[in-house]
Symmetry: C2
């Protein structure tokens, strides 16, 4: 019997990763493309289809799942993604349907990761949970009663663009004070720079430019007890904890998982975030919400994309 | 053929209303009980069962739907309702099952009203919408993909207890700054009292005690251009609009409906709330979210409770 596999595609601004994924979440083979090298979306998708066909030998493709920035599950399009060189609407699903006669699903990266958590990770038996990706921005995949919350047009679940601070930090979306300007790999850098501007004591962190800094460096300094780095984590955790209390009141998830660069700080972020969350939770939820790091490996993006297909075939 | 009917029960702190409701949302007969007169929950439920049986002649009961403060759909219990004289957990569904051999559903009043809106009101063809009841508190029924969002234990959808103001007004839940302390019939009274305390100009509203005041009176004064009443509405609408922008980012509803005492102010509240919401919405949602008054009559509570049964039999 031919082996059934799903294709997982993770479209990123720099690289696009493709993997052949089996039912157990094992990546059987993989390939990487330089997203930015393709002048048109059409030439990129043409090459993507070619690479997928190349990866397949005698397996049967059950379907293709694609996680992409601003990917809309309802339309199958990438819509106005700021981090891709191709502007406007890219009809990914329609373009790929010309090459493949199997189901093709597209969604954004955080929503794909949430499905990955449900199919391959820690949320296997959960019906209500939330996954937050703390990278350049803050993405959220919110699962309600076993399905992703897509809303009326596929654009629900934008927790990163709910307000954390009234009239707060400028956000790429055009608004101010959005959660992702405080709680993300970029957000903690901004918080650190705010602390450096307010205070005068010395720290080696004063030798980093904004662009040279990243959340890994801040984490390393925090682990060495640098007071600026530690305070940055505490402030970030406080913003996060307050908003977690809010998201619990809306969705009452069983658990909240964290993924992405900043989440690799682990307890440095999650322990104080849990304390702040508990402080602001409606009493009826206290002590009931689990916070933890995602159960998926670094390949979560590919696995999550492929999991969209497996979820439909469980 | 015997006529199929559903029973709708609206349990309130003062009165409990029972209605026999047909498929079209017509109340065929009804009865009211004084909730507060029953010393025990058991005696109350026993009388409630008796009254239901009395109302029925030759109709066949398809099921009984009950809306009650702190009603939990998952357990069928009223759990620690502050406005009822019976404390702790009341096993409403279990007690009634001894008397009726039909499906019995219990939920809280706002969630029941949302189902009423879906079955009998303006949300008939909607899969994603939100209903807010602006009464003593702020209740919310949030419909995701055609079903109420109950979360892991039935206690999702507590928008009234999400934070509107950090370290803000004292709330009955034990926290501070909850939305319902600003946006509800009680919230607008508190806002008016804050304005009266801050400013010195005269208004006949200075002759009302807190307990004598209600949202209807503030509405009437606003319609007569009383500046305190008008500013109270503007402040309330601003708090509401900011949080509506938030709830849209989480759920992307097609529409948001308003019910309850304060919502009867209509455009006095909804017009500025819409403007504030649009100001704070993520641009991708702008101009797409409809705000309006509920399509249900004053009998929404009975209709909503009965609608839980009809929804299962559509």
């Amino acid at each position: 019997m031919t082996k059934l596999v799903s294709i997982g595609v993770d479209v990123g601004g720099t690289n696009t990763d493709v993997g052949i994924v089996d039912r157990e979440g094992k990546i059987l083979s993989r390939k990487s493309l330089k997203t930015g090298e393709y002048l048109t979306a059409e030439s990129f998708i043409s090459q993507l289809c070619f690479e997928i066909k190349n990866l397949i030998s005698d397996e049967e493709i059950l379907g293709i799942g694609i996680g992409a920035p601003n990917g809309n599950f309802f339309t199958g399009n990438i819509e106005f993604a700021p981090n891709l060189r191709w502007k406007g609407i890219i009809e990914v699903k329609n373009l790929m349907k010309k090459e493949f006669n199997c189901p093709i699903f597209l969604t954004n990266d955080a929503k794909a990761a949430a499905i990955g958590e449900m199919v391959f990770g820690k949320a296997k038996k959960m019906k209500n949970f939330i996954l937050l990706t703390l990278g350049t921005g803050l993405g959220s995949g919110i699962v309600v009663d076993g399905n992703l919350c897509y809303g009326h047009d596929g654009l629900a679940g934008e927790m990163g663009h709910t307000q954390a601070v009234f009239n707060g930090r400028e956000c790429g979306c055009g608004n101010k004070g959005c959660l992702e300007t405080y709680v993300s790999a970029t957000g903690i850098k901004r918080t650190l720079f705010e602390l450096l501007s307010r205070n005068i004591s010395e720290t080696p962190l004063r030798d980093f430019s904004f662009n040279a800094l990243n959340s890994k460096i801040i984490t390393d300094f925090a682990l060495q007890n640098d007071s600026y780095a530690l305070e940055s984590f505490d402030i970030t955790a406080r913003y996060l904890g307050i908003k977690l209390a809010e998201v619990v009141a809306y969705f009452r998830p069983e658990a909240i998982f964290f993924f992405g660069g900043l989440s690799q700080a682990g307890d440095l972020l999650l322990k104080p975030a849990r304390n702040y969350m508990e402080k602001y939770l409606l009493p009826v939820y206290c002590g009931k919400i689990s916070l933890s790091i995602s159960g998926l490996s670094q390949d979560a993006a590919i696995l999550g994309a492929a999991a969209m297909i497996w979820k439909e075939n469980l």
